[in-house]
Amino acid sequence: MKTIADHLFDILENSVNANANKIIVKLSYYNKIFSAQIIDNGVGTDLINITDPFVTSKKTRKVGLGLPLLKSTAEATGGFLKITPLKEKPGTCVEFKIDMSHIDARPFGDIPAVFTDALLSWPELNLEVIIIKSKKEKKILDTVKLKKELKIYNLSDIEILNYLKEEMRRELNEIGIDQQFGTI
């Protein structure tokens, strides 16, 4: 994985594979610390060592690399990766922290494209993206609301996606998340 964006997309793919149809992503960037929280309503996993590359719920083969790679990316900067099942309902929360000022940090890559790529890949997915701005939560994408307000069932048109991507890019840039290692 070259960028944090790739890792983020990989987690979304895990969620969709676990039959999630709703994902909430929360991103914050403060004092060079990037944190992400991804909450889904998928079936989750009861495997204990899911960040071990030789532990996987896949039936087709015996290795799973996505989470172990993210774990090493996060821990190389002094950060962490945490996976917790939701208490009351089915679903999983994946949380990771990366110190972007660390010499081993990967660049952000195109973070807004992660979400529009997800909508292109999985048109039925309900996706919410929230950023923490001045200690307050701000929603920068809400597909349920958008579909309702635009009265369409499908957002996966390239013109709509590009528009949403640039909107999100502007918001993310404002809290310092750019393509490289952040501006603040």
């Binding site: 793919e13 594979n17 528009y163």
Partner: protein, 121 residues
């Protein structure tokens, strides 16, 4: 959202397009987006294909995604499925290869030998 009006304008422009896309398809392109595909740049490939479809104005070509196909060294991989024909799988499809495959195979039905991985399921 203050930009809702702008989005509504775009929607008016593309609505017909979106509605037609939900119908029957002539060609389906499947992009492998497992961990291996993502690491190899399959998202760029997918985006290039989506752009090409939009430019072509064809509403009967659709893109879908799937997980790892088990040939990670061949990623990014795509499968081109023309209706009523055997699917064709291509390997190492970067954005440039995607353009060639789109123009030759998706639009004109000619298999691109250079990137061919396998025919059939």
């Amino acid at each position: 959202m203050k930009n809702l009006e702008e989005l509504k304008e775009i929607r008016e422009r593309v609505r017909k397009n979106l509605e037609m896309r939900t119908g029957d398809f002539a060609v389906k392109i499947v992009v492998c987006l497992g961990t291996c595909g993502i690491a190899a740049g399959a998202r760029q490939t997918m985006n290039r294909l989506a752009e090409l479809i939009a430019q072509s104005g064809r509403t009967d070509i659709i893109i879908t995604t799937t997980g790892c196909a088990g040939f990670c060294e061949q990623e990014p991989m795509i499968k081109v499925q023309e209706k009523g024909k055997e699917p064709v799988t291509y390997g190492k499809v970067d954005t440039k290869a995607a353009e060639e495959i789109f123009n030759q195979h998706v639009l004109n039905g000619q298999i691109v030998q250079k990137y061919l991985f396998t025919k059939g399921e």
